[in-house]
């Protein structure tokens, strides 16, 4: 049995090298399919990361008049805390706001100089509200708008929900396009593998005929072609790992610039999940290719 397995491997490698150009084309098509699948993963990861990062930063600011008394502020704070949609509320004093402002603009001396020239703290205290669930964002805004309190100077209700919806929509659209593209490439791969095996069988038809004539088992005749498809997949996966490493290394600095302030490290994500991502791709691609090869072998090996 061991001997037969060794010979099956030998015949399979012979088959790959005798049709080297066909084998290369097959592997390149496979790489394109894998590239599109991995691009889909990148889009999903970046989209997910961006959404999470934005979610973390979403809050609503209620600016309070500087003249407001402490008890008035505490009363307002507790009134807002009782709203179901509120997760957390924090009071930022005038001094705290100034400190935050200074640390935020510490690299911009012109702003700090202007503040100094002003000679007083121009900022107002505020209440920072974090919503519980973004789905209920509109309800929260409505409820906050209904609060009529004189100590409120202004409200900052930036429409984060709309921004998230836009990111979601873009991610979804790119994913949909990616899925379609991946399916097209997978279909092409299946057809190319099928054709490669068919051509390989045609090239070896005399050998196959003699094998069958002298009593080689069906398993022995067919196995080299099934194994070839696994070898193609393996080589395709190894190639895509190298290509994708280079691709992500180029992409990462651009992502850092584009998503400044958000911690998006796509290279690290692939590095951490290398076996999960490429292992799974290898298994699924092998399975698909084995099925395509099996259909070709079953149809054409009866020479």
């Amino acid at each position: 049995m061991f001997l037969s397995i060794v010979r099956v491997i030998k015949f399979s490698l012979q088959d790959i090298f005798r049709n080297i150009w066909l084998s290369l084309v097959t592997i390149i098509i496979l790489i394109l399919a894998l590239f599109s699948v991995n691009t889909l993963i990148v889009v999903k990861v970046i989209g997910g990361n961006a959404i999470n990062a934005i979610k973390e930063k979403i809050d609503i600011n209620l600016f309070i008049k500087s003249t407001a008394l402490d008890e008035e502020i505490v009363a307002l704070e507790s009134q807002i805390k009782n709203i179901d949609e509120v997760k957390e509320i924090t009071y930022i004093s005038k001094e705290q706001a100034l400190e935050n402002f200074r640390s935020k603009h510490e690299e911009n001396p012109e702003i700090l100089e202007a503040l100094k020239e002003l000679g007083r703290n121009p900022l107002t205290p505020s209440l920072v509200i974090k919503p519980k669930n973004l789905d209920n964002f509109d309800n929260l805004i409505n409820k906050l708008n209904m609060i009529d309190n004189d100590i409120i100077e202004s409200k900052n209700f930036a429409n984060y929900k709309l921004m998230l919806e836009k990111i979601n929509a873009i991610t979804e659209k790119v994913s949909e396009a990616g899925i379609v593209l991946s399916f097209i490439f997978i279909l092409i791969t299946v057809l190319v593998i099928y054709n490669t095996v068919r051509v390989a069988i045609y090239t070896h038809r005399r050998e196959i005929m003699i094998m069958r004539l002298v009593g080689a088992s069906k398993w022995f005749v067919q196995m080299p072609y099934l194994l070839s498809s696994v070898v193609y997949t393996f080589l395709g996966i190894i190639a895509i790992m190298g290509i994708y490493y280079a691709f992500l290394s180029i992409l990462q600095p651009y992502l850092e610039v584009f998503f400044v302030g958000y911690d998006i490290d796509i290279l690290n994500y692939f590095y951490d999940n290398i076996f999960k991502i490429f292992g799974l791709q290898f298994l699924i691609a092998s399975l698909i290719n084995i099925i395509a090869s099996f259909l070709a072998v079953r149809k054409y090996s009866n020479v």
């Binding site: 037969s4 003699i210 069958r212 004539l213 002298v214 009593g215 088992s217 005749v221």
Partner: protein
């Protein structure tokens, strides 16, 4: 050894290849099956090696009913029946030795077994000195002899020769027939399918004549009667 009971085989468009064939070949016999082209000789060969299924009747080889042989059992049958053809069916990119070796490799023969059997069969067919030549570098007779060597590696009880001299001149044809007779002397049943009158008449062995898919003559020491 081989029994055909009322074997009938019809191809599409009602072409009758074998019609109610009854045949019994004993172990160690040398039988010539003769007939003109298209009379069913090759179909008979194909049914014997499990390549064609019959419509009616029964075929028994060495006590094994192969009438409804399954795909998985065909390789087992083919290791028991050595077959040679008119066109030799050798691989041109392999030497004669490698061609014979290939038959053992694809059936799982160990390197040790291959090393002991292949030179031995090459010697039997008289090709030990030309074993490392390619099929296109030797005569037709030598190529056919290496095909016989390949057929012998599994030590078959039956050797089926389908028009083995069809592509050979009379000198080479005689060499091949002499070799078949020698193999027969070792106890192997030889079935020679041919339409070579000269060869059949010279053999003076059993001759079965087929015409239009039926046996019209079966003589213990026969001649080519068509």
């Amino acid at each position: 050894m081989i029994k055909f009971h009322n074997v009938t085989k019809t191809y599409p468009k009602n072409v009758v290849a074998l019609d109610q064939i009854n045949l019994h070949i004993k172990p160690g016999e040398f039988v010539s099956i003769v007939g003109q082209s298209g009379t069913g000789k090759t179909t008979l060969v194909k049914t014997l090696i499990g390549e064609e299924k019959i419509d009616k009747g029964k075929i028994i080889v060495g006590g094994w009913d192969i009438t409804n042989i399954g795909q998985r059992e065909v390789p087992v049958l083919r290791r028991q029946i050595g077959v040679i053809f008119q066109d030799f069916k050798l691989l041109t990119k392999k030497t004669l030795y490698e061609n014979v070796e290939f038959a053992m490799q694809v059936c799982g023969g160990s390197p040790k077994k291959i090393k002991s059997i292949v030179p031995h069969v090459m010697k039997i067919v008289g090709l030990e000195s030309k074993a490392h030549r390619y099929p296109q570098e030797v005569s037709g007779g030598e190529a056919q002899r290496s095909a016989i060597a390949r057929a012998l590696v599994h030590r078959p009880k039956i050797l089926l020769a389908d028009e083995p001299t069809g592509n050979l001149d009379s000198l080479n044809a005689n060499e091949v027939i002499d070799l078949l007779l020698r193999i027969n002397k070792f106890g192997t049943t030889v079935i020679l399918v041919t339409h070579n009158r000269e060869v059949v008449n010279k053999l003076k062995r059993r001759v079965i004549t087929i015409e239009n898919g039926t046996i019209i003559s079966d003589q213990a020491v026969g001649k080519y009667i068509l």
